[in-house]
């Protein structure tokens, strides 16, 4: 039951001639990934709107199918039949290429995320590095999208988006590096193997260690900023900059941007699950009979739910607040987390390791948090009236 997809793929690949078998295998993997994640994207749009609606004391979309489940079909039809408007002075080649080329790297990033036992599309030695490399490539494409529209707001949105993505890449990569250091390999499969096993009933996932928890939280915040997700969605905020770098895109290209953003969210959640939450491992030893891909997608849905929850709760961060947060808070915390992970590795297992590392993580957190608040007065607002 656990390996049903792997055996299915091997059976299908067996039909082809022996020379093209690697290519056929790759094509089947790619088709599977695109199919599954595109469907997950459709479901996520509906779940997000309904979830946000319930948080805001209203129903979400509930007209199209039973409980609104077929809403993505309606959205898809709308996106396809909308007129494709390209501004006359826009750079038409770049304007056309930007959404297309944007979708490619985000799907590529999903290739190194293992979705079950033996279910990685590509198992390379430098998997995590590949993931970050591909993620970095999407920033330039955002800029292309923003610049080619020849619109001040679009360009401004693109600049802000790039600045935000570059700033948050550093804590993202540093928190991942602490995991890589402990696991000893850049390959995603080996990182998951390093989290196998159960110690005293609890799984040996990295999130259940002090540096792992801090690293996980930092990673999730940086991931939200990387995929331009609320509360970091200033570059695409509707009331600030009228949708930022994709103002001038209509119809299907807009849908492609949306797809790219959500698949980016899935990819980075998938990597978080791989690095911190133990990949496709079950949380308790008596639950291992449930197939591994069920655990992976369950964890993925849980992380997506957390993203939606945070989106419904927090207000948008202003640009300078965003940058301050990245450089002054997250970067020092990520560096200290790295040091703590190293210290964890070299201490003997026991309660002292826990205490020392927790202190090493919480101490700077409290000091930074207090210290960064010195300048601003966040008490009750006082008003001065004109007399």
């Amino acid at each position: 039951m656990d390996q049903i997809f792997v055996t299915l793929k091997h059976w299908l690949v067996g039909f082809g001639p022996a020379q093209c078998q690697p290519i056929i295998s790759a094509i089947i993997s790619v088709a599977g990934i695109i199919g599954v994640f595109a469907t997950l994207f459709a479901i996520t749009t509906v779940l997000e709107r309904k979830g946000l609606g319930r948080i805001q004391n209203r129903y979400g979309p509930n007209r199209v199918g039973p409980f609104g489940i077929l809403q993505p079909l309606a959205d898809g039809v709308k996106a396809i039949i909308k007129e494709d408007i390209v501004p006359r002075t826009a750079d038409s080649v770049v304007h056309f290429l930007a959404p297309l080329v944007l979708v490619a790297p985000v799907f590529l990033a999903l290739a190194v995320v293992p979705m079950g036992r033996n279910m990685v599309a590509i198992d390379i030695d430098a998997g995590v590095l590949f993931f970050f490399a591909v993620g970095a490539a999407t920033e330039l494409l955002l800029f292309m999208a923003g610049w080619s529209s020849r619109n001040k707001y679009s360009l401004l949105g693109a600049m802000r988006a790039i600045a935000q993505m570059i700033s948050y890449e550093v804590p993202l990569i540093l928190s991942a590096v602490s995991v890589i250091m402990i696991a000893g390999s850049l390959s995603t499969v080996k990182i998951i193997e390093a989290q196998a096993g159960y110690a005293g009933g609890l799984p040996r996932w990295f999130v259940l260690t002090p540096w792992g928890l801090a690293g996980f939280i930092l990673f999730m915040i940086a991931a939200a900023a990387e995929s331009n997700r609320s509360p970091f969605d200033l570059p695409e905020g509707e009331s600030e900059i009228i949708a930022g770098y994709y103002i001038e895109y209509s119809g299907f290209k807009f849908a492609l941007f949306f797809l790219g953003e959500y698949i980016g969210m899935f990819a980075v959640s998938g990597l978080a699950i791989t690095l911190f939450l133990g990949g496709w491992h079950a949380p308790f030893a008596f639950l291992t009979w449930i197939p591994s891909y069920v655990w992976f997608f369950g964890k993925l849905l849980a992380l997506i739910a957390v993203f939606i929850w945070v989106r419904g709760t927090l207000p948008r961060l202003r640009m300078d607040q965003l940058m301050n947060f990245a450089w002054k808070f997250m970067l020092p915390m990520a560096l200290i987390n790295l040091v703590t992970a190293g210290i964890w590795r070299f201490l003997d297992p026991g309660i002292s390791r826990w205490l020392i590392c927790s202190f090493l993580v919480l101490g700077p957190y409290i000091m930074l948090a207090r210290g960064l608040l010195q300048g601003s007065n966040v008490g009750k607002r006082t008003y001065r009236y004109a007399d």
């Binding site: 004391n57 209203r58 709760t313 409290i366 207090r370």
Partner: protein, 206 residues
């Protein structure tokens, strides 16, 4: 900045989310075509004609006095009087409108026609789902579209209907009382001056 504000906010949001499934009064959305909010009593949209009883033609209160037609600011009412008369609620024979049209694409819901009607015949309806396909013809409502029973009026605007009913009942009672007094006086007159008539009759016959 330690993050407790964020955690408190997320707890509040979670409470909203879970509460919306459990408690009915959290979701204040009224899902429109299936559920409707009840209208307030003083709501008004376009006028309608009131009729008493079951037959809308026999019980119509309107006597085609044309006051509402003259008072209507956008002049959206068109009335033509009938040739014959029919009895009204108090038994007196009154004219009735042969044609009574209101163009509700012109009507501005000012309620002046209701205020000036001396017969409580035209009142304000609250019906707003009046979209039609034809832009010019379908929004012209005729007598048969406009007539609605008094029970409907009572349901829509209970206090106004109670007032109107009380007034009409009082008039009817007065008319009946007057009718009875007239009949009594006539009967007495028929019985009393008999001797005079009997005395004069031979003189008149001569």
């Amino acid at each position: 900045m330690l993050g407790e504000g964020i955690v408190k906010g997320m707890a509040e949001t979670a409470r909203n989310f879970l509460g919306s499934y459990v408690k009915e009064d959290r979701l204040t959305t009224v899902q429109y075509p299936e559920e409707r909010l009840p209208q307030k009593e003083a709501a008004r949209n376009f006028p309608f004609l009131v009729y008493d009883g079951d037959d809308w033609q026999a019980g119509m209160r309107c006597v085609a006095c044309q006051i509402c037609e003259k008072e209507c600011p956008p002049q959206c009412i068109y009335i033509t009087k009938s040739k014959d008369k029919k009895p009204d609620h108090a038994g007196k024979a009154q004219l009735y409108p042969a044609i009574f049209d209101i163009d509700i694409s012109v009507c501005m819901s000012c309620q002046i026609c209701v205020e000036v009607c001396p017969f409580d015949a035209i009142k304000m309806d609250t019906e707003f789902e009046l979209s039609t396909g034809d832009r010019f013809g379908d929004l012209l409502q005729h007598k048969n579209d406009l007539s609605k029973p008094n029970t409907y009026f009572r349901k829509l605007h209970p206090t106004e209907a109670a007032e109107a009913d009380a007034r009409l009942a009082a008039e009817k009672a007065k008319a009946e009382a007057k009718g009875k007094a007239d009949a009594e006086a006539k009967a007495k007159a028929a019985a009393a001056p008999k001797p005079l008539a009997a005395a004069l009759a031979p003189a008149l016959a001569k």
